[in-house]
Symmetry: C2
Subunit: 238 residues, 2 copies
């Protein structure tokens, strides 16, 4: 990977800098318990996923949309016989999610402190504005970033716009994240670099089939490996 | 108002460039009808407002939070006896709101076309990321703006951050909007200019008591009046 031109390093946040998906899975499990009189967990999960995917265009990503999709699913699969106390419980589960502490992933703080010495760092995350601002605030990582971009989606034209706004060329941009679908593939398509740092669990809607092979692509096992990777670049500077 | 230094003109969007509040009021009316077996409209409105204000810190502004607050209020005031069909109806009301066409206010298009010839224009709106992006897209106004800022809140430090990011001084910034509380007062406090263009209805949570008197403040009756106001400035340029 020829990184000599890189000016901006952009980081995804959820499951790249801090834990996120496990909170959704944990809430989903509690939702399944709550609804166990109506459907077995694996069927209910499929119903919920279907509701979420249908609603994404209207609701976008984030906890509020997730709560609304749980409520809608509960009403539908119970054929409107769900007791309202269960619906109250769903709202409470959602509010609880919003108040979780932010748990940084290993190395997040050190990696940002180190890389910002030589690069402009950007946080590029999709999701709900309030959720993401709250997590950024709790994370204490905000001071490392030159720019925070909370995106409604992470498709090719979303990245093209971001790169344009940063006033750089695509080959001066590298995106680091856990989702091949959202953080890596669209960036490669628009001519940027992508570094995949997998997280132990990926939401089914973010999964893709197959392997990525591309000259601008690299896969690391952990965030910490970014430090030697980008130090190499400094050494090759004239 | 001495506007000679103005470089950036920022516009609020909801009820400044396009209609918004009437959709919330219309949905609230339909919510009150739906719940008329439990509480009279004026009492229910008060209950809903209370729920919304309590939830703003967690949910922020926007339609998804509004739906969740209606559901929570419906469960509470019915003492959990609300039929689930009514809850489904509330979700449907919310989705309907999200799909409303965007109705521009008189002069919005012409004013932006004209002012962008001499100023950097910014859209500075608070609300839900997905809602606001959708409305911006439907409005067709995006091409007039140099920068779009969707803010979680519009307090003094939010404006100070925005002004810093625009790389200008506070007295080079003017904010135009319908809410004295959110668009005008905090901007005046941080040293910017504020132009109030009232809308015919204001959400109770956005209302303030008293009059604004400040050398950097001006009140206009309509957006169109901005054109002569800022043309004056051009004439006074050396």
């Amino acid at each position: 990977m020829d990184k000599d031109h890189i000016k901006v390093i952009a980081f995804d946040a959820d499951d790249t800098l801090w834990d996120n998906e496990p909170f959704f899975r944990e809430t989903e499990n509690r939702f399944c318990e709550l609804m166990s009189d109506y459907l077995p967990a694996h069927t209910l999960e499929r119903e919920l996923l279907q509701t979420e995917i249908t609603n994404i265009e209207l609701y976008g990503y984030g906890i509020k949309g997730f709560i609304l999709s749980m409520i809608e699913t509960a009403l539908r699969v119970s054929d409107h016989t769900i007791p309202s106390s269960a619906l109250n419980k769903i709202i409470a589960l959602g509010k609880e999610m919003m108040q979780k502490p932010v748990q940084l992933l290993n190395g997040a703080e050190e990696v940002l402190s180190e890389l910002k010495k030589n690069y402009r760092l950007v946080m590029a995350t999709k999701g709900d504005l309030v959720d993401q601002h709250r997590k950024l605030h709790k994370s204490g990582l905000g001071r490392h970033f030159h720019h925070i971009e909370i995106m409604t989606d992470k498709k090719e034209n979303d990245y093209a716009r971001l790169i344009g706004r940063l006033d750089i060329q695509p080959d001066e941009f590298v995106m680091i994240g856990n989702s091949l679908k959202s953080d890596i593939l669209p960036v490669l398509t628009v001519g940027g670099f992508g570094i995949h740092v997998p997280y132990h669990t990926t939401w089914i809607h973010e999964r893709i089939e197959g392997e990525v092979k591309h000259q601008n692509f690299q896969r690391l096992e952990s965030l910490e490996e970014l430090i030697p990777l980008f130090r190499l670049k400094r050494d090759t500077w004239p």
